[in-house]
Symmetry: C2
């Protein structure tokens, strides 16, 4: 049975990281949000904020990958799977008043030049996404080199759209990016 406190801490941290980033989130705020005692953070994460950060990033990366797999599995074909992922992202943005976008992009930009362990955690998470998407397209019959390019293109479009949607408080960039991702995929399928 998983420890409930450690899960509440990681859930709260992931949500706060996604909304306000790494440096903008204090440990006091995390324990308040998680209704957990302050000491528990250093009991479960003796490495402090940096260890908590890396583990939360890796977990968020896994969970978001699972979301992608779930949507892909529920879609009849690859094109509609990609389209569904973008429209789902747009809906989720609007429902949360443009707060819930990529779970690790904000942290990734913050820490890329300031903390090597945290940067590595974000790079590992992104790599699993790129590899999974590449495999998804390869299984559809696309050559591996092309599949990787389509995967990178799709993910760049997704992350860029997240940025513009949050800043502009509009879902237009996500819808345009989704259409571009579908177009890129269709072109790759010849």
């Amino acid at each position: 049975m998983p420890n409930p406190t450690i899960d509440r801490i990681m859930d709260a941290t992931a949500e706060l990281f996604r909304r306000q980033g790494y440096t903008g989130t204090g440990l006091k705020q995390i324990v308040a949000e998680a209704s957990a005692p302050f000491g528990s953070i250093y009991h479960f994460f003796p490495g402090g904020k940096e260890q908590l950060g890396t583990e939360v990033i890796r977990r968020s990366g896994r969970l978001y990958l699972e979301l992608f797999i779930t949507i892909a599995a529920a879609s009849p074909d690859v094109v509609s799977g990609v389209a569904a992922f973008f429209t789902g992202a747009a809906e989720h943005l609007r429902e949360t008043d443009y707060a819930d976008a990529c779970p690790i992009a904000t942290v990734a930009l913050e820490v890329a030049s300031t903390s090597e362990p945290l940067r590595q955690a974000t790079a590992d998470a992104f790599t699993t996404w790129i590899d999974a998407a590449t495999e998804y397209f390869v299984m559809d019959g696309i050559a591996r080199t092309t599949a990787r390019e389509v995967a990178l293109t799709m993910l760049c479009l997704l992350e860029g759209a997240f940025l513009f949607c949050r800043s502009l408080k509009s879902t237009e960039p996500m819808h345009v990016a989704g259409a571009a991702a579908v177009a890129s995929l269709r072109a790759a399928k010849g």
Copy 2:
């Protein structure tokens, strides 16, 4: 004649924001980097860090737009202009060890849900980029609606590529994104 101190402060702030974000940058660090007295910040920006932040964001947005215009003007046609912008971004990333990417993306993600004045400043900057790119494509004979979609697609690709390049410490995403942007533009030109 422009005040040299205020310029040094804004230059240092812009550079630190781009590398470590808004909350990760302290006012003490800014004045140290700018070789300016601490009091000068509150003399020139009585609104404190938030006012300094909004003005730096708006200025960075202007400067980056000028960079785009410069590259576009130096290119023989629209397609090569777009391609040159992406390859230039990739080179600059590699030269700065993946530190210098988008000057406002990091801040934009951090503040989107925490400070309305700062979010508005990032939104205004992004909007000028989208409008300028749209106009650039319209002048090449693309219908306005399509031109806006291509502009948004290109900028989403650029921002997403910045994120992945910085996290992965690789220029591959930028090169792939550049190729995708060119493909999107070519498709729009029929």
